[in-house]
Each structure stands twice: as C-alpha cells, then as structure tokens.
C-alpha cells in the first residue's frame, strides 16, 4: 500500500473523529443553555439544538457548502450545490487529503456551532417559527459568505487573515447574530426594573451548565486540532496543546476576575471563562506559542466576565452571555494573532505574517482588524435586515402570556420538568 494512501486513510479517520467531536458539541450547547435558563423553558432550549442542527444539515448541504467553498468570486462561491461539481469546484479545500463527504461533514459541524451560538440571543422568548426561518437563512446567506471570505478563497483569505478554526468565521458571526436578535427581541419579562436596574434570572441547573462546558471543552479538540484536517506531521497535537492551555487559563482568569470584581467566585462565570478562552484561541491555536495561548486565554476569560456584567448594566439581556463569550472573545482571538503570531508557526501554516511582538509590524494586526470589522458589519447588517423584517411581518417574540407560562408548554405542549411545573402533576404529587 502506498504511503499516500495510508495517509489518506489516517487523515480521513482523524477528520471523521474530529467531526463527531464537533457535532458532539451540540450536546454541550444543549446542556449549557438549558442549565443557564429557566426550568419552564428547558425542554425547548435543549430540544431546539436538534432542530437547529437538522436545519443546518439540509441547508448547508443544499447551498451553504457551495457558497462557502465552491468556486466563485472573492465574495461568495457560485457552484457546488448539493456537493455536486468537478475536481476544481471545491479547490479551496483541496489542501485536505480526505473525501469530500468528510470535508462537508466537518464543515457542517462548524455551521452547527455558529448557529447554536446565535440562538443564545433568542433564548426564552423567541417564537419557534423564527428558528426555522433564521436558521435556514443564517446557514445559506450569512455564515457561508464570511466562511468564503476567509477559508473559501475570498478577499480576507487573500489578504492573509489568520483564523485557523474560526474565532471570526464561526464564533463572532454567531455572536453578532445573537446580539442583533437580543436587541430586537428586547429583554425577557422581569429582567429589568423600571429604572433599568437588572434582576438576576438564574439558570435552573448549574450542574448542567458545568457539564455543558466540559463537553464543549472536549469537543474543542475536534474543533481546533481537527482543523488541521490531517495527521502527517502531528501538528494537530500542538494545536490541541495550545487549545487546552488557553482553556485552562480562561477558567482561572474568569474565576479570579469574578472574585476580584464581585467578591464571589461565580461558577457559571468560570464556565464562560473556559468557553471565551476556547473561542479566542480558535483563531490563534496554530499561530501562537504555548505561553501566548495562556495569555490569550487568561485575558479572554477575565475580560469577557467584565463585559458580561457591563452589557447587563447597560440594559442588554443576553441570557447566556453569548455576545461576550463568543463575540468579544472572538474579536480578542482574531486580533491576538496580530500581536502574537510567531514566525515559526506562520511559516509552518503558510498563512499571513508574524505578529507585532515578533517584529512583524502592524500589517497582520491590520488584516485581522479588517477581518473582524468586515465580518461584524456583514453579519450585523444582514441579520438586522432579516430579523427586523421578520419582526414586522410575523413577529419575533412569543406573547407575554406564553413567555410567562414558558416555551415548553406554549410552543411544544409539554414541560421539560412536568412533575415540577404541570399543575395536574404537582397537585397529584401533593395529594400522594
């Protein structure tokens, strides 16, 4: 058997494992989001992960993958619908020595994550129909365009933007959509008092939140290390190392910051710190040295705790802090390579230039900044147009009565925790 054939088998197996790990992150999001929201919405919040991934799968297969990686212009792909095409159609992914089906599966897992992040901004008050419409449009018209700009042969990729596994492409996009949604939907009933002071609406199960965080952390090895899409030089191991170091530093950074700023070492804040660090290192994992990964992770974990408190005080009700954890951390991670990208790793990956701290000047920093602004503006504008139109035409939000009774019962007809919430069962329980 030829060495190249063996390598193809190895790479395929690795990409398959990585894809499954990233798809497994849906379970992490289900637990994280359900745990961070109220009991009366838990079934809805967890269940919509399956709906979301199902919508993304069909839409990305039909059109999204073609727009992202299909042959086209510098703004979007114009071929490769339903994975059809010739040998040149998906040239942007030709560097990966694995079958197209696996390339699709792996990239689909990323869209699924981006969409899951966006839903954070919709939590506990959006209509189910909104998930259908926005989920499909996000998968076809929003995510693929930015994906094409950076990874599909588009203008940002041409400029040498460093976003190894998607701090901008996956996380910032999802977060911007979440922010637009949360602003258009408005705060949950009871979140703010008349004088705009915020109330605590605690999640119903902190253990779920922690478990969700751990599942996501594990999944991130597929996300970042899997983005090498190959095993040849064992570089995926290095990417896994920087990923893990950053996550660890993020947990410590967030819990220390929480203790420093509020006097309490908040557990959900620590989980969000891990996630923020993972988001930040996602762009940088293949470009920065191990020590820099710790710095980036620590800073992302610490800073996003502060931003989550800040946005809440400013009247933004982001139920699971999606914008801070994925948006702010996505920006931090993307910009970080402009400072920390080491010449050794830049040479190895062959993308962009060394960062400011290694004498690379401001060039890479500039490219990274342009990438962040470009992606944020595009996603922000399209999401706003779409969601604003939906708000006017069909409405985004459930009625106050439905919101108060909970989305489990109002949208799905049954409770996630019937024994606790269903009046017929709670009264029967008392009678027993």
């Amino acid at each position: 058997m030829k060495e190249s054939t063996i390598m193809m088998y190895m790479d395929s197996l690795w990409v398959m494992v990585a894809a499954v790990l990233v798809i497994g992150m849906q379970a992490g999001f289900a637990l994280l989001e359900a745990g961070s929201t109220r009991m009366k919405n838990s079934g809805h919040v967890a269940g919509k992960q399956i709906l979301s991934f199902a919508l993304a799968t069909i839409a990305f297969w039909a059109a999204g993958f073609g727009i992202t990686f299909g042959e086209g212009n510098s703004l979007f792909g114009t071929s490769g619908w339903m994975l059809e095409g010739d040998s040149k159609t998906f040239d942007a992914l030709s560097w990966a020595n694995v079958p197209l089906s696996l390339k699709f599966l792996f990239q689909l897992a990323f869209v699924g994550v981006s969409l899951a992040i966006a839903w954070g901004g919709f939590a506990e008050r959006a209509k189910l129909s909104v998930y259908f419409i926005f989920g499909i449009v996000f998968t076809v018209l929003i995510y693929p365009v930015i994906g094409h700009w950076v990874w599909g042969g588009g203008w940002l990729g041409e400029m040498g933007m460093q976003d190894f596994a998607g701090s901008t492409v996956v996380h910032l996009q999802g977060a911007i959509a979440a922010l637009v949604a949360t602003l258009l939907l408005g705060p949950r009933i009871g979140k703010f008092n008349k004088d705009r002071t915020p109330n605590l609406i605690p999640g119903h199960n902190q253990v779920y939140t922690v478990l969700g965080g751990i599942i996501l952390w594990i999944g991130w090895f597929g996300f970042n290390a899997g983005s090498t899409m190959g095993t040849a030089d064992g570089f995926f191991g290095y990417v896994a190392l920087t990923t893990n170091l950053a996550a660890a530093a993020g947990a410590i950074g967030a819990i220390l910051t929480s203790k420093f700023l509020t006097g309490k070492a908040d557990i959900p804040a620590m989980v969000n710190g891990v996630l923020a660090a993972l988001v930040a290192i996602t762009a940088a994992c293949a470009f920065v040295e191990a020590w820099a990964a710790i710095v980036i992770g620590f800073f992302a974990g610490a800073f996003t705790f502060w931003t989550s408190v800040y946005f809440e005080r400013k009247g933004v009700d982001d139920p699971i802090y999606a914008f801070s954890v994925h948006g702010i951390a996505g920006i931090i991670g993307t910009i970080s390579t402009g400072f920390f990208a080491s010449p050794r790793l830049v040479e190895q990956t062959g993308v962009g230039k060394a960062g400011l701290f290694y004498g690379g000047g401001f060039e890479q920093l500039f490219v990274q900044t342009i990438g962040v602004i470009g992606a944020a503006v595009y996603v922000g504008v399209i999401s706003f147009i779409l969601l604003f139109a939906m708000k006017k035409l069909v409405g985004l939000r459930v009625t106050p009565e439905q919101e108060i009774s909970g989305l489990d019962i109002s949208e799905h007809g049954s409770y996630g925790y019937p024994e606790h919430l269903d009046p017929s069962l709670t009264s029967a329980k008392k009678a027993n």
Binding site: D195, T197, P198, F260, L261, T262, G263, V309, R313
Partner: protein, 368 residues
C-alpha cells in the same frame, strides 16, 4: 466664630430647644407624629451648623427617646384603664440601633419587654401582651414603622418575665445554632425606655456574667461577628450590588455598619462592658486596654464617618419620600468620602479579625 456663624448657631440651638419642647408638651400620638415628621428640618439645620456628628446623634436620639417614652406611656395609661394596674414592675426596652443610640430620622422599631409581675400567670401574661401590643401600635402611630423581622415586644419571643428571659437565654446558649447566636447578639443591645430600668440592668449584668461562663458561646459569637464579608477587595475596589433594584449601589448597613457595630459589641461582651452604645463601648474598650489610644481614635473616626453617611442618606431618602434603605451610589459620594469609606472598611476587617482572635483566646484562657 464670626457674627454670621454665631447667629446661625443661635438659630440652631433655638430649633433644637423648640423641637424638644414640642415633644415634651405633646399630649397625643398625633402631636408626637407631627413633631417626628418635622425632624428633617432641624436635622438639616444641625448638619449645616458646627455640631459634630456625635452631638447631632445625641440630640436626635435623645428626642427619639422622649417620643418613644411618651408613646409607650400613653399605651400604659390606656391598658391600665382597660384592665387595671399590674402588681409588680415592668421595663419596656429598645434594641438594635435605638439601643445603641444610632437612630437616624425614621427608623423601624426594635423592642422588648421584661417584667416581674407578682400576680396570677394568666393575668400577668394578659397585661404583658396587651401592653406590648398597644406600645408597638402607638409607636407605629408616632412614626416608627413595624420591624419587618418582628423583633418587637408584641412578639412573644421578645416579651418575658425575668425568669423566663433567663430560661430563654440559657436555651439559646445551650443550643447555639446560628439563629440562637443571633438572638443572643441582639440581646447585647438593650436600653430601657419605659418603666423600671433596674429590671433590665439586672438582666444585662446576669447575661454578661453567664455569657462569660460559656466561653464556647463567646467564641462562636466572635466567629459569627467576624465572618460577615466586607465587600472590598485587596486592591480597594468596593463591591456594589450586581442585581435587583439596588444594582450598582453599595449597602452601607450590611456592607460595613452592621459588621462594625457587631464586632464592637462582641469585643465589648468579651471585656464585660455593659454599655450599649457603640461609642461608649469603644471608649471603655480603650480604658480596659483592649484598644490602644490610636486604635480608639481610628475607630471613633470611622464610626463618625459611618454615622454621617447614614444620616445624610436617611435625610435624602426622607426628602425624596423614598422608603428607607441604606444603598448608596458611590459615584455621588465624591473621591474623598469614597477613600474614607475604603479606609473604614479596612478598619472593620481588622476589627473583625481582632474579635475572632479574642474570642478564641478567651475560650482558651478559660480552659474549657
């Protein structure tokens, strides 16, 4: 003092005299309430004058005492008209901030009753109950809101005969749950308002004596007094409320004032100090060598600062007709006062540590 200050001083003195005279002359609850409602104007005048914060509180609490005494006396007269005079003595006493003479303009009630009635138990209980309920009601009519925690003589927990109080207290220090310790700590702050003060003083002396025979209780009290987190970090950042209607504000009462007075209270109990006001306790603690002169000065400065902060906030809340609470916006304090607050909070942390340490030392020294 220039002519203007002198003239202003005379005006303030006149106002104080006039308010006290009105209270003395008040013949009905309605009149008492009217004087109480006008406290704000003469307190503002006092604040603008050259009176120290200690003097302002002294005037204020003296006047509160007279109002309370008169309201309770009205209640007593009504009850004896209804059911006749009791055989024996009673003492209606204040607790909490009133006992420590730290009342601001408009504060909740905290009170209790002790008696040594020598009559049929049922009659004794009836008199004690009706008198307590009437007193609490009259105080409420005079402008002292009911205590949300129900620490009032109308609650049977805070109304006993002398022997019942002793049994009750013994039960507290035998169980020493967190609630029991809190009750015991509350009972360190008592001051007679109406009736025979000797009853309360005897109980207090007995209590302090017995408490010192239970060093494990003192140790637990000191641990409780020292365990309340002071919301400031090592870099001097003050933690404000994160959520709720007071988000962004600092709780002066729970964040610094209560921990301060609690630490002083327990330290005083360890040193067998019978005084009930925080200022007097601090002075005696210095006399007994528990605090150095320098530490006493620091404590008095901090205490005056906190009293001033509470009073200013209370005046402002009254002006705006807000419900009284002690949550303040640090941004409105000004840099100098924020620095003073930080220094005070650090001092309270030190006091808490000292109290905890003295509690442990006391337990060890008694060899239990």
């Amino acid at each position: 003092m220039n002519f203007f200050d002198e003239s202003k001083g005379k005006q303030v003195a006149f106002k104080i005299h006039s308010v006290k005279e009105k209270v003395q002359k008040a013949a009905t609850l309605e009149e008492l309430r009217r004087v109480h409602e006008k406290f704000i104007s003469w307190i503002q005048a006092l604040q603008d004058s050259q009176h120290s914060i200690g003097e302002i509180y002294a005037h204020l609490n003296e006047t509160h005492d007279v109002i309370a005494r008169k309201a309770v006396a009205f209640a007593y007269e009504r009850v004896i008209q209804d059911i006749g005079e009791p055989e024996g003595n009673l003492c209606f006493f204040s607790m909490g901030s009133s006992a420590r003479q730290e009342q601001t303009i408009w504060t909740d009630q905290d009170n209790g009753l002790i008696h040594d009635f020598r009559m049929d138990q049922e009659k004794a209980e009836r008199f004690a109950r009706e008198f307590s309920e009437a007193s609490v009601h009259y105080l409420s009519e005079a402008g002292y809101p009911l205590c949300p925690g129900n620490v009032m003589a109308s609650n049977p927990r805070w109304r006993h005969s002398e022997s019942e109080w002793k049994t009750q207290m013994a039960a507290y220090w035998n169980k020493t749950s967190e609630h029991d310790l809190k009750y015991l700590m509350m009972l360190l702050d008592t001051r007679p308002i109406f009736g025979n003060p000797g009853l309360l003083y005897q109980l207090k002396s007995w209590y302090l004596h017995e408490l010192r025979q239970h060093p494990n209780v003192i140790m637990k009290m000191s641990s409780l007094a020292g365990s309340h987190d002071i919301p400031i970090n090592f870099a001097g950042m003050i933690f404000t409320e994160r959520w709720g209607k007071f988000a962004g504000r600092f709780d002066v009462k729970q964040g610094v004032f209560a921990p301060f007075t609690n630490a002083v209270k327990v330290l005083a109990a360890i040193s067998n100090v019978e005084e009930s006001s925080t200022r007097a306790r601090l002075i005696v603690l210095e006399e007994r060598g528990e605090l150095s002169l320098l530490q006493l000065e620091d404590c008095i400065l901090a205490y005056d600062f906190l009293l001033d902060l509470r009073l200013c906030h209370s005046v402002k809340a009254r002006e705006n007709d807000d419900k009284l609470d002690y949550h303040i916006l640090l941004s409105r304090l000004g840099t100098k006062r924020v620095h003073q607050l930080k220094d005070t909070m650090r001092l309270v942390k030190w006091l808490q540590k000292k109290t905890k340490k003295r509690g442990i030392q006391f337990e060890q020294s008694t060899g239990f």
